[in-house]
Amino acid sequence: MVTEQVKHTSNAARGVGKVTVMDGNKAAAYGALLSRVQVLAAYPITPQTPLVEYLSQFVADGALKADFVEVESEHSSLSVLHGASLAGARTFTATSGQGLALMYEPYNRTPTIRLPIVMGIATRDGISPQCVWGGHQDAINVRDAGWIQLFVEDNQEILDTVIMAYKIAEHPDVLLPVNVCYDGFYLSHMADRVEIPPQEIVDEFLPPYRPTHQILDPDNPMSIDPLTPNELFMEYRYKHLQALQRAKQVIADVDQEFASLFGRGYGGLIEKYRMDDAEIAIVGIGSPVGTARVAVDRARDEGKKIGLVKVRALRPFPREELVEALRNVRSVGVMDKNVCFGWGTGVLFMELRSAMLGVPKPPATVGFIDGLGGSDITMEHYARAIAIVDDSANGLAHQEITWLGLEEE
């Protein structure tokens, strides 16, 4: 399920598209456009706001033949999509921070009624202390509502992952909604070189959505999400969890198929970078992984045998893949752009540590918290993190969790 070589430039002749410059919100909007979504409903919120404007423009220009429902809240935007999805439409929305909080009830219902809705989260920290800036806390806080959550590193990956997300969500083994989580401001407002894949090849990759399961059909009435008692409730939960686990294989397969058509693959659930002979490693998620690649290259130049593992799927959690990727390293540093209040760590740190339970000779795990509330995870912060991981590998004293942004003060 893991590819060692990730191609970042297109070499698949048929799938080569037009190169242009766009921010992350526009990349998400293009992903929805190319996926031929039929119903949109979204409410603007920083830093997702430009995405709503781009989608409105696409519909107004006739580039996107979709119904754009203007709603009065995020609770309504996702609820509108429930109806549309149950009527058989391919649907899209996106939100951030407080918007996601207001969406909490329909958010939890989306996966349990098995709707293949794709929703972007332009991740935002907070909610309080009041903050509009980047951080992964909003998406992280709802990680166990039963959605698939994919985190991406750059604008090209946003566009490509939205398209892949429909293929994953609508797969009969899965039938679950997908969040495409992209860093608020760092990606949502970053202008970047992006290749727009050709529509006809996207069509080939992603055929129209044909629901066979939950459908609102006047000729064939069915009751959706009625009061569900006891054992039936347990059965639904069990099947939902099974589907989320089956999604692991589908995410990996869809990534490979995408790579074969468009020349860009992202490794599926995780991506390994310079891990072949690595003795220590950094594990990261989201846009900070880009900076980590450069930091790892520099540490390699200094003679450190270090690699990087990028987590793309937070849900389902790539437990087996991470254990396999890290089986030969002595120490792992996990970069979290969120906090886990219960453990006083980051969430990715604690989950990676859980994944290592029972593994013979597991690597030491060291945690780093940085990038909260829009603070910058700099190259120097990564260099410091790598030094601490190195200390840990060499049996030297070190803290379990280091708040990199606060250390300098």
């Binding site: 604008n155 401001f185 070189r193 829009g374």
Partner: protein, 190 residues
């Protein structure tokens, strides 16, 4: 890879200028990206934007702390913000100022931090060409002439992707005028 930091005030178009610049590099077959410093969005408040370009994909997702070039869109910023901080490499500064290059009172630290300076009265050019003192596009023309890192034509061709069609002609004129008018001097480093 080269790094560029733009300094402006809210409403002067420094962020859009950074995006136009990225597009110009991409037109020339390079990779580039830009992001604004995410502060408080207010008109008149100092802000910065960060651009990187290279022949290879850009992977860094951080602010720019050691630029090869700074572009200072607003003349009053030099006394308010440490605009020359961290300069490296060719150490180029492109400044908006109405003074002639030999009359400009550069900060004392400048000869040590800046190797090459380009000065243009972008405010005057913008008022003449566009009718408003929005100097971002003029400064891009001055940037192209001072650095030689990108063709003026690539910058001008990028305008239509980011600017209101009604303002296109004036901005093209402003960029071309600033390209011609900018005075460039290599400073003697102490």
């Amino acid at each position: 890879m080269k790094e560029i930091r733009l300094h402006g005030r809210g409403g002067q178009g420094a962020v859009i200028a950074s995006q136009i610049l990225v597009n110009a590099f991409v037109i020339e077959g390079k990779y580039g990206n830009s992001m604004p410093f995410f502060g408080f969005e207010r008109r008149g408040a100092p802000l910065s934007a960060f651009v990187r370009f290279d022949d290879r994909p850009i992977r860094e997702k951080t602010q720019v702390y050691s630029p090869d070039c700074v572009i200072v869109v607003d003349p009053t910023l030099r006394s308010a913000v440490k605009v020359f901080d961290g300069l490296k490499g060719e150490r180029i500064a492109v400044l908006n100022d109405r003074k002639a290059i030999d009359q400009i009172d550069l900060p004392e630290s400048m000869p040590e931090s800046v190797n090459k300076v380009g000065i243009v009265d972008a405010t005057k050019i913008a008022i003449e060409c566009i009718g408003v003192p929005i100097t971002n596009t003029s400064m891009l023309g001055a940037f192209a002439a001072t650095t030689g890192w990108v063709k003026l034509d690539s910058i001008v061709r990028s305008f239509e992707l980011f600017l209101n069609p009604k303002l296109l002609e004036g901005n093209v004129k402003a960029a071309r005028a600033a390209y011609e008018a900018v005075q460039v001097r290599e400073l003697v480093t102490l």
